[in-house]
């Protein structure tokens, strides 16, 4: 250890006489360079974060706003709509995240296969939805999912299945959101997995094949363990993303019918920007933050453990 640190010290001393100005000026420089980022962060992130915490302890708006302690948080616990939103979010999370990630993994393995041609085309096709704009997505799917003449229902009818009232029935509306959400983000996750797959040394597979391992065995014994860090990463990110779910129900269902697709973020938005109840909306935001942190930590614990 000492052998390593000794040469470093004289180096620093050597540089010291070459200073071009007072010490504070040298130490200020990095902060100066960081200033744009720090100021922007302060104004657009830190200030709103602190302010919304303070707001969450107030009630009323306009001239009638006043401090009200924990009233908003107590109200939250008694609010049936908040619990509905939480349950909806939970249900979509449990169905959507595993489904999407499994699909993404299969896609990545498929594209990575040596047998596939035009790989760039497939990759592009898979990733395209991730860069599609929110409004375009909403318009496109509201056409595709139309009950009377939507392409999805036409397809269902063509194979002899009954048409589905996608956006008018609570259950199907939730499924529609799951569908669009998966469409939107599967490709994104697949590309992450693909990068992981390409970094797995080919020799491992060759050695396994020599040992007589079949394709399934190779997948479970080599591919999945090698991708573990990436799996953890995508599971946590997708969970956080789905907990904050807003875009898809916003453009597709507006949270309906009868709040079947109301998510916590949508409820937050309604309270803040439709009813101007900023105190309450802030309280919802903090409840969501708490939830995201706890769930994220639990996942890291459970899945990251074997890593050590």
């Amino acid at each position: 250890m000492t052998a390593l640190t000794t040469p470093a010290a004289p180096l620093a001393e050597e540089r010291a006489p070459a200073r071009r100005g007072p010490r504070w000026r040298r130490t200020a420089l990095p902060y100066l360079l960081l200033a744009p980022a720090l100021v922007t962060f302060g104004v657009f992130k830190a200030y709103p974060i602190v302010d919304s915490l303070l707001l969450s302890f107030t009630t009323g708006n306009g001239a009638a706003g006043h401090a009200d302690g924990l009233a908003n948080y107590r109200r939250l616990l008694d609010d049936p709509l908040f619990w509905t939103a939480l349950r909806n979010t939970g249900e979509m999370l449990v169905v959507q995240v595993p489904l999407m990630l499994a699909l993404a993994l299969l896609m990545a393995v498929g594209i990575n296969s040596a047998l596939v041609r035009w790989r760039a085309v497939w990759r592009l096709g898979i990733f395209m939805p991730a860069v599609t704009g929110l409004v375009a997505t909403g318009v496109m799917f509201s056409f595709l999912l139309r009950t009377e003449d939507g392409a999805v229902n036409r397809l269902l009818e063509a194979v002899g299945l009954p048409a589905v009232d996608w956006l008018g029935q609570p259950f199907w509306a939730r499924m529609a959101v799951v569908l669009v959400l998966s469409w939107h983000y599967t490709g994104y996750n697949a590309v992450i997995y693909l990068a992981g797959l390409q970094s797995i040394p080919r020799e491992l597979y060759e050695a396994a094949m020599v040992d007589g391992a079949g394709p399934v065995r190779r997948f479970t014994a080599i591919t999945v363990p090698a991708l573990r860090p990436l799996l953890l990463f995508t599971v946590v990110l997708s969970t956080i993303g789905t907990l904050q779910l807003f875009d898809e129900p916003y453009v597709l269902t507006g949270g309906g019918p009868d709040n079947a697709t109301l998510t916590v973020s949508m409820y937050l938005y309604q309270n803040g920007f439709r009813y101007f109840d900023f105190g309450y909306a802030s309280a919802i935001a903090y409840a969501l933050t708490l939830l995201v942190s706890v769930l994220g930590a639990v996942q890291m614990r459970l899945m990251g453990e074997r890593e050590r």
């Binding site: 708006n61 306009g62 956006l167 008018g168 920007f273 101007f276």
Partner: protein
């Protein structure tokens, strides 16, 4: 197009209400409201904030006004809707900074502004506004009156409810809708209508409320009974007997199978275009709207008085209204008031604005103009404006949209969706909604 914009505004005005939002944050920062240090100058340039064709219509009044009132210039600005709500709120929250002198305000915003920014709008009673109270359709004065009994705006547009129907369809079934005294009379002949007109529905409603609530019909049934989500004191009446009766009437209509689902923002127009709807229970602005939007159905539509909800009940309702107010912060409040008075209390002004911008006047003395008696070819020669003028003259019961309209609308919409999708009991869902509304707003249930 004016109708479209107004329709969007007055229909689902839950959307885009950024207005009070900004006020919330600004006032929370301590700037407060009120504190308007305006003046009562009688001359100067009066700035008027309005939107779309209403603004254009107001501009038409300006030359005559400026001629009659030397020393006052008027600048009408089209702020746009919904942007205007945002700007008014920010202005009120800033104690009147940058606010126009005259403000065009809808019935769904006025109570919120009065509640949240006391002292933000000028007391017009001080200028003698009360002298005009009986000139406007009955039911509108309480809407512009504050808790102190003083007037804070003058009514401009009023929308009496009508009952448009397809005469050809009803003829086929041998039914004459002008004989309906109550909605029950319509229910009684529903089967006959259905047998004669397969595939045709009476009403089209966005049952899943996607993307926006579709409560116009139920609200107007409430208003026909002098009821709404709130009473005039601001207490919650969402679970009241009258409100339950309104939703039950819709449920019974739906049970006959004659209420079509109109999904999405365009659902209703699509059904209308296809000629699948036989009834349009819509207010005065629809007279021109139907004519321009569904021109090919010319000659098929007629207008009747809306049926009552209860036997012997009221057959007139004012579903919504817009108003002109004066900002308390204006340094030339008297000049601003002069313009408001000139524009809204003279039959010649409001009628020219009706012709130019389609703003159906609240001023009942305007209805003697011959244009109201003119037959309309689209409605088979029926003078539909006359019917609306009569309905407006009958007047409605005042409706208090309150400062919590957006919440009430959403909860009522959820209740209606439950009735449509799950066959829920109207009384149960509305009383539940009333409880939630009380929980959310801190208001008491009447």
């Amino acid at each position: 197009m004016s109708h479209l914009s107004r329709r969007d505004l007055l229909r689902a005005s839950g959307a885009g209400l950024l207005a009070l939002a900004a006020g919330g944050t600004l006032a929370a920062c301590g700037s407060g409201s009120g504190g308007a240090s305006g003046g009562d100058a009688e001359t100067g340039t009066v700035t008027v904030w309005s939107w779309a064709t209403a603004a254009a219509a107001l501009r038409g009044v300006v030359p005559a006004f400026e001629k009659d009132n030397p020393g006052i210039k008027v600048d009408v600005q089209d702020i746009g809707n919904p942007a205007i709500w945002d700007k008014i709120t920010v202005g009120l929250a800033a104690g009147g900074q940058g606010l126009g002198d005259v403000l065009h305000i809808g019935c769904d915003y006025l109570p919120g502004y009065l509640e949240k920014f006391p002292g933000g709008l000028a007391d017009l009673s001080a200028f003698g506004a009360d002298a005009h109270r009986d000139k406007f359709a009955k039911g509108l004065w309480p809407v512009v009156t504050g808790k102190d009994g003083h007037a804070y705006a003058l009514p401009w547009e009023a929308n009496p409810l009508g009952f448009f129907y397809r005469k050809d369809y009803f003829d086929k079934a041998g039914i004459d809708p002008t004989t309906f005294a109550t909605w029950d009379d319509l229910l009684a002949v529903a089967d006959r209508f259905k047998a004669a007109n397969p595939g045709i529905s009476l009403l089209g409603i966005n049952k899943a409320a996607n993307p926006d609530p579709d409560l116009d019909f139920v609200q107007s049934l409430m208003q026909l009974q002098g009821a709404f989500y709130f009473d005039l004191q601001g207490k919650i009446t969402l679970g009241s007997e009258a409100d339950v009766r309104a939703l039950s009437t819709l449920k019974r209509l739906d049970d006959t199978g004659l209420v079509a689902d109109a999904p999405g923002a365009q659902g209703w127009s699509t059904l209308m275009k296809a000629g699948k709807l036989a009834v349009a229970p819509m207010p005065a602005w629809a007279a021109h709207y139907l004519e321009s939007k569904f021109a090919d159905q010319s000659g098929n539509w007629r207008l009747a008085k809306p049926p009552a909800v209860t036997p012997g009940g009221k057959r007139a309702a004012l579903v919504n209204s817009t108003h002109l107010a004066v900002a308390a912060s204006s340094p030339r409040r008297r000049a601003a008031w002069k313009f408001v008075e000139y524009a809204l209390t003279r039959p010649a002004s409001v009628n020219s604005m009706f012709t130019a911008g389609g703003v159906f006047p609240a001023l009942t003395t305007a209805y003697t103009d011959p244009m109201y008696a003119a037959p309309s070819a689209y409605y088979g020669g029926q003078p539909v404006l006359k019917t609306f003028a009569d309905l407006a003259a009958d007047g409605g019961d005042p409706t208090n949209y309150s400062g919590d309209y957006a919440r009430a609308l959403k909860l009522a919409s959820d209740a209606q969706t439950k009735v449509f999708l799950k066959g829920a009991d109207p009384a149960a869902v509305l009383q539940d909604a009333a409880k939630q509304l009380a929980q959310q707003t801190g208001r008491t249930i009447a």
